[in-house]
Symmetry: D2
Subunit: 345 residues, 4 copies
C-alpha cells in the first residue's frame, strides 16, 4: 500500500484523482488539501464521493503532509505548484505534478510563456510522464511532470508518423477541441453555462501556452526542431479532447498501411486503441477512461494524412495518466485501477 496525498483536491482534476484513487487496491489516501474548503469533508465538497472518502480538507502544510505521505499528487495552478514541490521532494516524498511547472526542459522557454521559474534546477530531473513514449524513464523518477491534456492527445497521435519519418514536420497543423472541464472549477464568466452552452469558439489562436510543450515532445520524436500551428477550441461538453491533425506525407501511403503502422507502434499498449479504417474516434467512446483512441485517414488527392485523436481530458489528459505514472513508480501493474469501461451514453 502506498500512502498518497492529493494537494489541491477541490478542482476537477482533484476530484478525478480521488475518483480513481478510491478504487485503486494498493492506495491509501492519507490526506487531501483545499484552501477554499479547509475543514470540510471532501464528500461535502463533492457528494459524488459519499461512501468512498470522508477525509476532511486540510491546509497545504508540507511538513505535516510529508510525515504521512509517500507520494504526493499536486493538482495546483502553475506557479503555486513550484512553490511547494521542492519542499515535498526535500522531505522525501515523490511528486507527480499535474501543473505545467516542470514540463518544459528549457527554463527560458518556460519563462517566456509563463513567468520566472523558482526552481529551475529541477527541470532536468523532472521526467515527462507520458508512459507510452517515455516509459523507461518514469519508473525511477522522483518528480513526474504529468503532461498537459492537449499535448497528450497530440503526441500520441503523431508519434508513429514522426518516429517513422512518414511526414514533413514543418507541415503540421493541429486543430484541437476541448471539453469545458479543462478550464477548471474556479468561477470565471467565460466558463459559465450560458457562455459555453450552444456556443463554440477558438481561443488562444497562435498563442496558447501548450504550444511549447507540444513542440518540445514532437521535436524529440522527430529528432529535428518542430514548429506547429495549434488552435484550441472550447467544446460544450464536460469531458473530452479531440485533436484533428494534418500533415503532408513524405510518400503517400494508403489508409490501411498507415493504420498498420499505428497498430505496430502501439502493439501491447492497453491504453491506445487504433480504430479500424471505417470508424473514427469520438470523445464519447473514451469518457471516464484512460484510453486514447486514434483514427487515421490518408488523402491521396492532397497527399496529406489526417489523424484524429480522442481522450478524456481529465483521465488520460490528467488524473488517469497520473495514476499510470504512479503505478510505474510504485512497481504496480501499469493498468491497476484504470480498467474502466467507457460510460456511454
Amino acid at each position: 500500500m502506498v500512502k498518497i496525498a492529493v494537494v489541491g483536491a477541490s478542482g476537477y482534476t482533484g476530484v478525478e484523482l480521488l475518483r480513481l484513487l478510491v478504487g485503486h487496491p494498493e492506495v491509501d489516501i492519507c490526506c487531501v488539501t483545499s484552501r477554499q474548503h479547509e475543514g470540510l469533508p471532501i464528500n461535502r465538497v463533492f457528494p459524488s464521493l459519499s461512501g468512498f472518502c470522508e477525509l476532511v480538507c486540510e491546509p497545504l502544510d508540507v511538513g505535516r503532509i510529508a510525515e504521512r505521505a509517500d507520494l504526493v499528487f499536486t493538482a495546483l495552478p502553475h506557479q503555486s505548484a513550484m512553490e511547494v514541490i521542492p519542499d515535498f521532494l526535500a522531505a522525501g516524498c515523490k511528486v507527480i505534478d499535474l501543473s505545467a511547472d516542470y514540463r518544459l526542459k528549457d527554463q527560458a522557454v518556460y519563462e517566456h510563456w509563463y513567468q520566472e521559474h523558482s526552481s529551475p534546477e529541477l527541470l532536468a530531473e523532472a521526467v515527462y510522464g507520458l508512459p507510452e513514449l517515455f516509459r523507461e524513464q518514469i519508473a525511477g523518477a522522483r518528480l513526474i511532470a504529468n503532461p498537459g491534456c492537449y499535448p497528450t492527445s497530440i503526441a500520441l497521435g503523431l508519434a508513429p508518423l514522426l518516429k517513422n519519418k512518414l511526414i514533413d514536420p514543418a507541415s503540421l497543423i493541429i486543430d484541437s477541441k476541448s471539453g469545458t472541464s479543462g478550464a477548471g472549477r474556479s468561477a470565471k464568466q467565460g466558463s459559465l453555462f450560458c457562455e459555453v452552452n450552444e456556443a463554440f469558439k477558438a481561443y488562444g489562436v497562435a498563442s496558447h501556452r501548450h504550444t511549447p510543450e507540444i513542440e518540445q515532445t514532437l521535436s524529440t520524436l522527430a529528432a529535428v526542431p518542430v514548429q506547429v500551428n495549434f488552435t484550441p477550441h472550447l467544446l460544450p461538453v464536460n469531458r473530452g479532447i479531440l485533436s484533428t491533425i494534418y500533415a503532408s506525407q513524405n510518400q503517400v501511403l494508403e489508409t490501411a498501411e498507415l493504420i498498420e503502422v499505428y497498430r505496430q507502434f502501439y502493439s501491447g499498449e492497453t491504453f491506445v486503441r487504433v480504430m479500424p479504417g471505417d470508424q473514427l474516434p469520438d470523445v464519447a467512446w473514451v469518457r471516464g477512461t484512460n484510453f486514447c483512441d486514434l483514427g487515421i485517414v490518408s488523402d491521396g488527392r492532397t497527399q496529406r494524412v489526417i489523424v484524429v485523436s480522442a481522450i478524456d481530458n481529465l483521465v488520460k489528459g490528467a488524473a488517469g495518466q497520473a495514476l499510470q505514472n504512479m503505478n510505474l513508480i510504485c512497481g504496480f501493474n501499469e493498468q491497476l485501477g484504470l480498467g474502466i469501461v467507457p460510460l456511454f451514453p
Copy 2:
C-alpha cells in the same frame, strides 16, 4: 462463474448491462443478441467496449442460447420480452427481465395499459426486483421483473414515509424528470438532438404507463390502495432521473426528524444515500452508479413534505439494479461489480 446471455444488447440498456458485466468478477458473458446488428462484433456497435468484449451479435434463438447460459437478461421492448421468456424458463434459464411485461401483478391492469398478456400464469411467480424493499423474495426467484426507472426512484423515495404512516397517501403528487436515454436508442424524431437540446416538456400527463407500476408498489408499502398524480418530463441530459415528490404530513415533523427516519429505514443499504439537511440530490452526483440519493424537506407552512430522489436511470433504474438482482440470485455479494464511483463532472 455464472454464464450470462444479454438478449437485446444493442440498446442503451444493453450496452449498460455489458459495461457492468465485463467488470464483474464472477460473470462469463457467453452470448449477446441483436437483430439489427446480427453478425457484427458488439465492439463495432459500441466502440466503447473495444478491449472489453469482442462477442459477435447473434440472432435471438432461445434454444441455442439456453444451451450456454445459466441466466438471461432480457433487454427487449415490452411484448417482445414475453414472447421469449416462457421458453427461456422452460429451458432451465433464470431470467431477469428489464421490460414491463411481468411487473404488474394484475393481468387486467397490464392489459388495460399495454396489450393482451401471453403468459399471465407467470405474473404471480415473477418477483419485483427492488432489493431494498423486497430482498428476501429475490434470492430464490426464477423470474425477476426488474423495476422501471421512474418507479424505482419513487418507491425508494416514499417507502420510509409510507411504511411509517407519516403521510396521507391520497395527497401524493410526483413530478419526475428523466434523461433522454430513457427513450431508448431507436431512431425517433422526438429523441433527436435538436428536439431535446435546449428544450423541456412534460409528456404522458395523467396517462404514463409507469403509473400503475408506481401505484402497485406504493399500495403495497402503504397497505392501502394508492392513486397518485405522476408527471414525467424529458430532460436534456443523457442520464438521470430526478423525482420531486409532495405529500401532506399526518403530523408535521422537522426536516431533521424526517432525515433520521430515512437514515434508520435505509440503515445498512449501500445503494441509498440519505443526504444531509443542507444538501439536496443532483443527478450529477449519481452518474454511472447504482446509487439512489434522497433529500427530504419539511415545509411547516403547508404541512407538506418534499422528497427529492435521484438515480441514474440506466443503472439503478435498469442495468445496475438488474446486476444487483443477479448477485442476490447467484448468492454473490450484493455489491459485487457495482462499487462504482460517480463520474463528476
Copy 3:
C-alpha cells in the same frame, strides 16, 4: 420616440433588453450603464450587438442619465435597484424595475425575505406589471415592478382557474424548472458549465424568494389568502421556464372544458397561446419570444387538474414583459417590437 436608458446593461437581462429595444421603432436608446465595463462599447461586451448598438457603457450617474432619458429600465440586483429608483422618479423619469424591490406590497413580507426596504413609501404606488392580469393599472404608472420569471409563468397558468373558482387554492403545488440564464451572468461556481450541464437538481425548496410574490398574486386572483408549495429546479438550457402546476378541482371538468375556460379567459391576448388538447408546451416553442404557452389536462382519477406553463425567462419573464409595459405606458401598440417568431430549433 421615447428616450430610454438601460441601467445595468451587462447582465443577461440587460443584453436581452437591448436585443429587443434596438428593434423597436419608437425607441431611442440614449444610455447604457455598466460598472464592470465602464468605458467599453456595449458591442464589445456583447459582440452579438455589433451593427446594432455602439453605445459606450457609462457609470450609473442618476443626474446625467435623467437629463437624457424619459424612461429607465433598471436591470440591477435587488437592493441596488432601490438605491437609485427614488432618485430617477424624483428627476422625472418613469422607471420599469426588473428587480424584486417593488413587487411585494407588504413591507414586512419584503423585509422578511430580503432585507430592510429603503423606500417603502413607493410600495403602494408601484404597479405590478403583468399586463394580461393588471393592464388597466399599468398605463398610468410612474413605477412598474416588472414581475419575476417564475411568478409570471405561474400567475398566467393559474389565473383562469382561480378567477373562475374552479380549484381549491389550498391544494396548489407548483413544480418549476428554469434555464440557467435566470441565475445571471456573474461568475458563480454553481453556474459553471460543468456544474449545470448533464446535471439537474431542485434548489430553494420551501424557501425560494419568489414564493411571497407568487402567493401575493394568487391571493389577489383567488380573493382569499393562498399558500403554495413552490419548488424551483435548475435546467441545463440557456432559456426557458416550465412550471407544472397541480390543483384539486372543485368539480371535475373534462380537459376540453378546461381548455375552453382558458381560451375565453385569454381571448384577445396575443402573448398567451392556449395549446390544443393533444399538445403540451415545450420551452423550445417559445424561445426568444414574449409568449406564454399553456397546456391543461384534467385527471378524472385524482380529480386534479395539471397545468403546464412555458415562457422564455428572459423575455416574458423579464425583458419582453418590460417592453410590453413600456408600450402600455407610452401609449404604443402593446405588441410593438415583440412580434418575434420563436427560434426553433
Copy 4:
C-alpha cells in the same frame, strides 16, 4: 407582394424559411408542402409558428403550386429537388433551391459525388447564390443554387485572401464544426440526443460531398484550380458552423494589416462582420441571424494565417441566404426581413 411557396416545409430548413418569411413585409406565403404531414396545419407540426402561419401542408403538386406562386423555395433532399425544379421553371416560377443539385457547374463532378443528373442542361443557367461574392449575377436569375452551409462559411472566410493573392492556395486546410440541425430532421440514430450530446467526432474525412462545392468557389476566387483538405465535425449545439482555416501566407502580414484587408473587402456588406483583433467569432454571437463573423490571426512563427468564420447554418448557411437571394431577385432591399439581432445567450 411576392407570392411564395415553400416546398419541403417540415424539415429544419423549412421551418427556418417560414420563421423568416412570416416576418418579411413583402411576402405572401401561399403554400407549404410536406409529404409526411399532408393535411396537418404547419403550426401543429411546429407549434412555434402558432399565431404566425396556419397553412395546411399540401402534397407536392407542381401544377397546383405554380398556379399560385411566383417564387418557390425548394427545401428537399438532393435528387428530389431536381425531380421537380425543371417543371417549376417550365411553369413560370422562379426557384431558389436549397439542395445541392444545381451548385456544381461540372456535371461529371456532380455525378462523381452524388448520382446521375436528370437536368444537366440547367447547370449552366443556375446561379450560385452567394450575394457577397456573386451579387450581380443573382438579380436576373431564374434558378438560384443556394450555397451549402460549410461552403458559405469557407468562401466568405477566404475570399479576401484569395482575391488579393495573399496565400498559397495549395496550402489550404479547413477544419469545420457544425451544429446538429445540419443533419436534418429525419429520424436517424446518429442524430439522436444521446449520440450527439457529450460527444464530438469528425466525419466524412477526406470524402465529404461539400468538398467539390468548396473547391469550385475557391478556384473561381483564386483563378487557379484549388484542392483543399476539408474536415467536418459534429458539434453538440443546435445551430452554428465554425470553420477554422489555415493557409501559408505569400508574404507575412501583421494581424492588423490582414484585418484591414478584410474590412476593405467587405466594406458595405451588412451581413459580414469583421471582428476586432482581440476578439474572435463564436457561433453564439450569430445565432438566429444572417451574419458571417470573421476573425483573422497572423502567425509570424509559421508564416501562416488562421481565419475563423462563424455563421448560423440554418440562416446564412440556408434559409437566410435564400431570403437574401429572394430580395435581390425581387428587387427588394437586400436586408429586408433579415435585420435580426442575435439571440444571446
